[in-house]
């Protein structure tokens, strides 16, 4: 894990820099929304990642419940604050984008509300992990809550199809070509990939310090500290 980390970091920086410059300065403006549409280059990736991160957290939680794997529990715990920050980013950029586009910062429609619930789920899991003294009990409680919260993920995904909503449909689907011009969606794709790499980097960083803290009584941590 330690050897991969710098490579992921380099790729993350390259992808994000390239995506941001392309998206902000070179992509053409939207014929209806003008330049405010450039918010898409952080809104869509952060929303996708907030959901992927949640699924990873729930799967890791399930693994730690079933097979009692300690690392899985640490990954699940590390996912919570990262995912929460990504959900905040998706909601905030969505609100900022909504103001010039829909004329309002917030509406209680299905997509926005289910995304807000996702943020509350993250906060709940994070609180359980940090409030319960016993690590094993904390891990179990967090895992159960994140598994129950999994029902929210398909609701977010299909909310724009099941209910009438202000929110537009997905830009990327597996089966069809994007409805945008390539000059618009290629930088978006780069940003999504960049966010995935960014997520893996910060998840690795967090999981590593989590391992150090939990293994602080073992010999190898002592050697590591003494070697510094």
């Amino acid at each position: 894990m330690g050897k991969l980390l710098p490579w992921f970091a380099v790729v993350t920086v390259l992808l994000l820099t390239c995506g941001v410059i392309w998206g902000l300065a070179f992509a053409p403006e939207d014929y209806q929304q003008g330049n405010s549409f450039r918010i898409i280059y952080i809104h869509v990736p952060s929303a996708i990642l907030a959901q992927s991160c949640y699924m990873l957290m729930a799967i890791a939680g399930a693994i730690s419940l079933i097979w009692k794997m300690k690392v899985a529990d640490m990954v699940a715990k590390s996912c919570a604050p990262i995912g929460a920050s990504l959900a905040v980013l998706a909601l905030a950029t969505g609100a900022i984008w909504g103001k010039p586009t829909w004329g309002t910062w917030w509406v209680w429609d299905a997509r926005l509300t289910s995304m807000l619930i996702l943020l509350f789920l993250y906060i709940g899991v994070y609180t359980l992990h940090s409030a319960i003294e016993n690590e094993i009990t904390a891990g179990k409680a967090g895992a159960v809550l994140s598994l129950v919260g999994m029902v929210n993920i398909p609701i977010i995904k299909y909310s724009v199809e099941w209910w009438n909503t202000l929110h537009q449909g997905s830009t990327f689907t597996v089966t069809e070509r994007p409805k945008m011009e390539p000059e618009m969606w290629i930088p978006l794709l780069i940003m999504v990939l960049g966010f995935y790499c960014f997520f893996s980097v910060v998840l690795m960083l967090r999981t590593r310090i989590e391992i150090l803290q939990r293994e602080r009584r073992s010999g190898w941590v002592r050697e590591l500290v003494e070697a510094r």
């Binding site: 941001v20 902000l24 300065a25 070179f26 992509a27 053409p28 403006e29 003008g34 330049n35 405010s36 450039r38 918010i39 952080i42 809104h43 952060s46 604050p81 990262i82 920050s85 990504l86 905040v88 980013l89 905030a92 950029t93 900022i96 984008w97 103001k99 010039p100 960014f198 980097v201 910060v202 960083l205 967090r206 590593r208 310090i209 150090l212 803290q213 602080r216 941590v221 002592r222 500290v225 003494e226 510094r228």
Partner: protein, 68 residues
Amino acid sequence: MYFDSFADFIAMGGHGLYVWLAYSIALAVVIFNVLTPILRKKQFMVEYQRRLKREQRLGEVNKAESPE
């Protein structure tokens, strides 16, 4: 480059405030996620080293007090 001038780029066709606000929040989230684990590791190392030193000192005191 899509914009004619740097001023146009900053103005974003009148949507500059929205666009730059969104991107600065993104930057804040990135910095938060990178900085917190680094700071936590630093704090862990400092505390651990302090504990090691204290243990060492206690060990020396114990050795000096016990008659051998």
